[in-house]
Structure formats: structure tokens, C-alpha cells
Amino acid sequence: MKSLALESLSKTYFDPYRGTQFTAIKDVSLNVEEGDFVAVVGPSGCGKSTILNMIAGFVPATGGRILVGGREVSGPGRDRGVVFQSFALFPWKTVIENVAFGPKMRGIGKAERNRIAQEYLELAGLGHAADRYPNELSGGMQQRVGVVRALANEPDVLLMDEPFASVDAQTRMTLQEELTRIWEERRPTVVFITHDVPEAVFLANRVVVLTRGNVLAEVDIPLARPRVWDSLVEDDEFKSLSNQVLQLVRSA
């Protein structure tokens, strides 16, 4: 795991219909320490997914730099693992083949990469589903696979793009608790994109509020860990932090 730094990151699109430039991200700087958990929230169209796609290397930045462990990066790479809203599991691979995919690309032999994958599947409580195909699993289980597939490749930074937005509310809370548990156990460096304010406050050490391509505010979340919904849902500190962030998002 390593730190992540964004230095004056910008993204300008050319709008072919208007014939003008459109600035999605303006001069965003952000530091994420090694082993930190940062959530980025903001209303739709604030540019949060654009930022994640630039960090992942799926779209090129038009200005600024992205540093992973002090080294500038461009293009996708295995140092930055990504968890997608649409899960993006390979439907033609079994669950264990999906999780073992990163190690396979690194040239790790079959026995060893299956051992790694099985270990990560156990971590997510999915040991029994190893030989199933993704379409045979529920959405919640699919995204558990998505998370451990990224982790099993030992990325320096874990990028999560609204990963729990397409599962039902109960499953979402379970997944959030599982993610905090896994994070507390393994301490990956995480950037978590969401529009769900309580989710951001529940998960992160720090919440970054983004509006119109700019960082509006950063809010530290000093809530004690381990965090579980049963105790936090009525917790005054959690409620006041959520309110504070919500006000910032709504003021945007």
C-alpha cells in the first residue's frame, strides 16, 4: 500500500454540440496517506466519477499530476485496483477465476493464485461460491467478489466508484460493515466515491466534498472503530457529522 496525491488535477472536455470547452475538474489537489480511507461525495455531475476515472487511468487528465507512492502514473495499472458500480465481473469466469485474474496476469502459477484467491474469498465469506459463475450470485455477493478481486491483486491504492449504489438497502449496510472490517484488518489506501452522505461518514476517515469540479471542504471523521450500524445509527457524533457533510453538499 502506498499514498496517493493529486496535484492541481484538471479535466477539460470539448463539447462538440456547443463548440466550447467544458471544465469538469478544476485544479483539484488531494493527499491520501498510506492506509487512509477517504470518501469523495458530491451531487451528480460534480465530477467525482471523472476524478476516479482519471486516477484509474481510464481517461487522461488535461492538467496536473497523479502520484502513487510519489511516482507519477498515467494509464491504467495494477497499482490502482478498481471496484466498479456495475461490478464488472467477467461472466465467462468462475468466481475464483475472477479473483485469481490479477495474480494470473502477474504470472503467478495456477496452484498459488488459486490459494490466494481462496484466501480472499474466505475473507469476504464467499469460500463456498468459488466455483459458481457470477450470474448465479446475488448483486451483493457479486460486489463482494468485485472487492476481493481488486484486493487480491495487492494494489497500492483501492479505488471504489459508487460500489454499493446498485444493491438493495439492507445488503448495502452489510457490505459497508464488511468493508470497514476488511479495511481495519488490511489497511488498504482507499478512495471511495459516493453520493450517499451517511455511507461516506460511516466508512471514511475523511470526507471530501466536491462541487462543480472543485473541492469545497474536507471533513475529518474521528468516529471510533470498529464501526457497526447498530451502534452508529443513533450515535450523536455520527448524526452531527452526517448533518455537517449534508449541509455542505446541499449548499453546493
Binding site: 487511468g57 481510464f58 490502482r80 478498481v82 466498479f84 467477467f90 465467462w92 490479477g102 496476469m105
Partner: protein, 269 residues
Amino acid sequence: MSVDAVTQWSPLPYRRTWQAVKFVAPLLFLVVLWQAVVTIFDVNPRIFPDVGTVARAGWETIRDGSLWTHVGASLWRVSVGTVLAIVIAVPLGIAMGVSKGVSDFLTPLFRFFSVLAGIAWIPIATLWFGYGFGAITFVIFNAVFFVVAYNTLLGVSTIPMPLRHAAASLGTTRWRMLTEVLLPGSLPNIVTGIRTGMGFAWRGLIAAEMIATNTGLGYMLFLARDFYRTEIIVFAMIVIGLIWLILDRLLLAPIERATVERWGMVQRS
């Protein structure tokens, strides 16, 4: 959820039998109807013979071995033409799906040639290859090639972007992307292309064999006409239809079931 649904189905062998019965029953009904119509209206056997006459004519071609010669020749041509077409069309389709330049250049050409694909090629094919195996295989190749290439292109371009992104951020190189993502991801469309293409090929084959050869099912059909052997014509038509049904249901459909349906990439039909 879907796993539980599968286990609740009736036992597999029973289901298979039932499906086979459902498939064969309408065909048997047609045979019964045919015999009834011929008997009731006392149809001239030159126009349309009864079931028994056709069966005896068929048995005759089986006993003297001529049926196997014709079926063997037809199947061999289809196999060679199809395999050649797939081997060339799939890589080309993927290249088109990956590179916009290649796709832009080839798409108009493909549109043009897919209209021509089929028996329009027979005259020039016979000039190039002479009568027989070469010309007919070329026609088959044409029928399969464009459909498979086009469907492969379609398959590659409809792979969801997040899948390619996921593979890239897991450290996939360009070459591995091809074998690990683009090829399996476009397989549903490739299989569809092969099924469609072979359907075209089988039709084109019969037409080509009427013109450009002296063995094969099409030739058998055409030759029988010259001798007014209506019962052979009918028998050959039945064989042509049955072989296609067998090819499709026992070879192509199971391939589809074992791969793309299991992955949930197409709906079970």
C-alpha cells in the same frame, strides 16, 4: 437464487426426453398429414409420392451406398468452408472491433460483399476453381465468412467498457486482453454468427451443388429430376432438412448451452 431455481427443475434425463418428444411430434404430424392427403386425394406419384414409396427409394439409396457418397461430399464441403471462414473471420472481426481505422475501412466492403455472399459467386467460382470441390467450398466460405466477421465485430464492440477497464487495472497487457476479454466476451455473438452463417451455407451449398458438381445432396436432388424420380427428390429434400436440424440441435446448440448460456450472457431459449 437462480441456482435454487435450477435444482427445482424436473430431473435432467426426463426433461431431455420430453424436449425431444416436443420437437419430433410436429414433424411426425407432418408425415401423417402427408400420407393422408396423398391417399385421400389419390395424388399422382409423379407429382407427389406417398410415404412408403419415398421410404423405399430412400432405403435403396442407403443400400447401394449412393446416399452416403452424396451426404459425405456435402458435409465435407460445408466443414472445410466453414472452418476456413471461422479461422479467418474471427481474428479479422476482432481487429475491426479493436481498431476504428480497420473497422472504418472494412465496413463498407463488408456491406457490399455480404449482399453478394452466396450463389452469386457460383459463376465466377467455377471459372476460378473449375466444377467441384473448390468452387462449392468457396461459396460456403463466402456465406459463413461475412456473417461471422460482422458478428464478431458486433461482439467486441458490445463488451461493456467496465469489463475492459477492470482487466486493464488488473494488469492485463494488450495481448492478454485479446485472449482473456475480447475473445470470450464476443463469443455469444460469434456463436450466433456461426449458427446463422452455417444456415446460409447449407442453403447455398444445395444451390451450388445443383450447378457445379456431380456429387452431393444438391446434385442428387437435381439428377433425380432428370429421371422423373419424384420419390428421390422428396427423400433428398427430407435428408437436407434433417441434416441441418441435427447439425443445429446436436452440434451448435449444445456448444451455445455449454458456454454462453451457462455464463448468463444470453437468455435460455
